[in-house]
């Protein structure tokens, strides 16, 4: 059966589908609300039926009766397989190395995949004070693989972060390993323009694919530094009709997140 690609889909749906495809069956995935959660559920309903979804609030094996509105939504608890305490979640799951994939967002990201979600401007006299790390720093440090979801804008893809909240490859070239972080670091950035990955040697980000309708030049223009482009850079594989159907009809029929 050849794949039938969807013709009608949103950028948000493209990003969800791309994220879902990064997840492998059996993975233990720490998800947040929004795109990560939708991607994980989509993966479960397509190629990864035994994906383990774990919420930062310590819940594993959730079977939510509705689409959860926060990582602490009561619907993720009722009918779940178990609950860890806050400290256990970070120590016994993340630090111990049991999380295969973690998702994080970014207010700013640099070429080594380091991320700022703390502050725009000076830390002591901020222009915009953002929420801060929450679980992101631990996820970036300890998950075997980190997926970054972010809008692609010049003010976000910056030469220098205003504040480093969550470590990517730090200054590249093994500087991450040097401080002793056992997690694999950022594996992929799914932006509103394309999919970016990291050179395993230098730790530097490169464009792997651009979303349908986007040009390489557009991506370069939306990035503050001179972004490397893979010699094999191609168009991102679009969502299939089936993926879009599952998303719209099964996962988010009310359009709570899809229409955001």
């Amino acid at each position: 059966m050849s794949k039938r690609y969807a013709k009608d889909y949103t950028l948000r749906e493209m990003m969800i589908v791309a994220a879902a495809r990064e997840l492998k069956n059996g993975d233990k995935v720490l998800v947040g609300i929004g795109i990560p959660q939708l991607a994980a559920i989509l993966a479960q309903r397509t190629h990864a039926p035994n994906l383990n979804i774990i919420y930062e609030s310590g819940i594993f094996g959730s079977r939510p009766a509705r689409l959860p509105l926060s990582i602490g939504d009561p619907t993720i608890v009722s009918g779940s397989a178990g609950v860890f305490s806050f400290f256990e979640t970070f120590a016994y799951l993340l630090q111990r190395g049991y999380i295969d994939v973690g998702f994080i967002g970014a207010a700013q990201i640099d070429k080594y995949g380091n991320i700022n979600t703390t502050v725009i401007g000076d830390y002591s006299k901020p222009k915009v004070r953002l929420p801060g790390s929450g679980g992101a720093c631990a996820i970036s440090s300890f998950a075997k693989k980190v997926i970054v979801i972010t809008p692609h804008e010049k003010r976000r893809f910056v030469e220098k972060l205003d504040f480093l909240t969550s470590p990517g490859f730090l200054k590249g070239g093994g500087s991450r390993e040097k401080i002793g972080l056992h997690g694999g670091g950022p594996s992929v950035v799914i932006s509103t323009l394309g999919i970016l990955r990291f050179d395993p040697k230098t730790g530097e980000m490169y464009l792997d694919s651009y979303h349908p309708g986007v040009t390489i030049d557009q991506v370069k223009e939306a990035t503050s530094w001179d972004l490397k482009i893979s010699p094999n850079a191609k168009e991102t594989e679009p969502p299939t009709e089936e993926e879009i159907r599952i998303l719209r009809e099964e996962i988010d029929p009310m359009g709570i997140f899809l229409k955001k």
Partner: protein, 308 residues
């Protein structure tokens, strides 16, 4: 010595156990945030508090707006699933209503402070997650240490032992044994770490209810100083099995409190304008309350056995 009476009103408990200048630690992680107790702190106009909570949520935002707070210890200061905390931002960015000090952590490192506090050790080492970040530049409590076994660099996190822990849970008996289900967060650790512990519960139940399921107890009676029977004491957050999160409330709060005036209006209406949680609930109204009631989904009893 008689069994001391730990059952009291929120008003009595806050009056008795929270003093100006205290380090007050709030429990709850999205689930079971002690709003009723927090509002009582605002009404009693406590001042110069240091408030600790991983996710300050709307309650610490309100404490800041009301001028109770000198310093916030936190790890993620947002409106969960909604956006930012406007009073927190105004205080940090513009010093409104007055400048506040912040002491910032990651979830893991603040959880580690609570753990070390509960365990009675001066610090706990962690794999140096946070050392890759810029936080240690601004937070001198994130130190480095060498592992005496592996020689590897670790991050050392000092214990936190608050003056008062403020917690909401499903139920307790009148001796003060507290039981909870759903997301537990750091409630056990902050109770064991703190000098005084105030707990509001949905229900005070017969001792027999607690004792038929001892594994559900998260805080032993001897660590609890005050028990307040405060149904819906966690609204607009939720109590698992009792009511749902009032997401509309969180969204309305977000809109309303973008201005100082809106924030004032909120406090006057929902905090200063009511005497206690009962009046708050009257104001909330029957319709809204009914909308938040979940259907039943109960556990199946387990047998502990009678060994006589």
């Amino acid at each position: 010595m008689e069994i001391e009476d730990k059952i009291m009103s929120a008003k009595e408990a806050i009056k008795k156990f929270v003093s100006d200048g205290n380090l007050v630690c709030f429990g709850g992680f999205t689930h079971a945030i002690p709003f009723a107790l927090g509002h009582e702190i605002i009404r009693q106009r406590k001042r110069n508090l240091t408030v600790s909570k991983e996710t300050p949520d709307l309650i610490v935002d309100q404490l800041i707006a009301a001028g109770c707070v000198e310093k916030v210890i936190f790890s993620w200061a947002g409106n969960p699933g909604v956006g930012l905390l406007h009073a927190f931002r105004r205080a940090v960015e513009k010093g409104i209503p007055h400048p506040i000090e912040i002491e910032e952590y990651t979830h893991f490192t603040l959880g580690a402070r609570y753990f070390a506090g509960a365990a009675g050790i001066p610090f706990v080492p962690i794999i140096p997650s946070v050392l890759g970040s810029d936080l240690p530049k601004y937070n001198k409590n994130l130190k480095t240490i060498k592992c005496p076994f592996t020689g590897k660099l670790l991050c050392a996190i000092p214990a936190l032992n608050p003056d008062v822990a403020i917690i909401h849970a499903q139920r307790a008996d009148k001796e003060g044994n507290v039981q909870m289900w759903g997301i537990i967060g750091s409630n056990k650790e902050i109770a064991m770490a703190s000098k005084k512990v105030i707990v509001s519960v949905e229900e005070i139940v017969d001792s027999e209810v607690i004792r038929r399921d001892p594994n559900r107890t998260i805080i032993p009676a001897f660590k609890v100083d005050a028990i307040i029977e405060e149904p819906w004491g966690a609204h607009p957050s939720y109590t698992q099995g009792y009511y749902d999160r009032d997401n509309e409330f969180y969204l309305e709060y977000d809109k309303l409190t973008r201005t100082v005036e809106g924030m004032e209006k909120f406090l006057n209406e929902w905090v200063y304008g009511v005497e206690n949680r009962k009046e708050y609930l009257k104001k909330l109204g029957v319709e809204r309350i009914l909308k938040l009631l979940p259907k039943t989904y109960s556990s199946i009893p387990v047998d502990y056995g009678y060994y006589g």
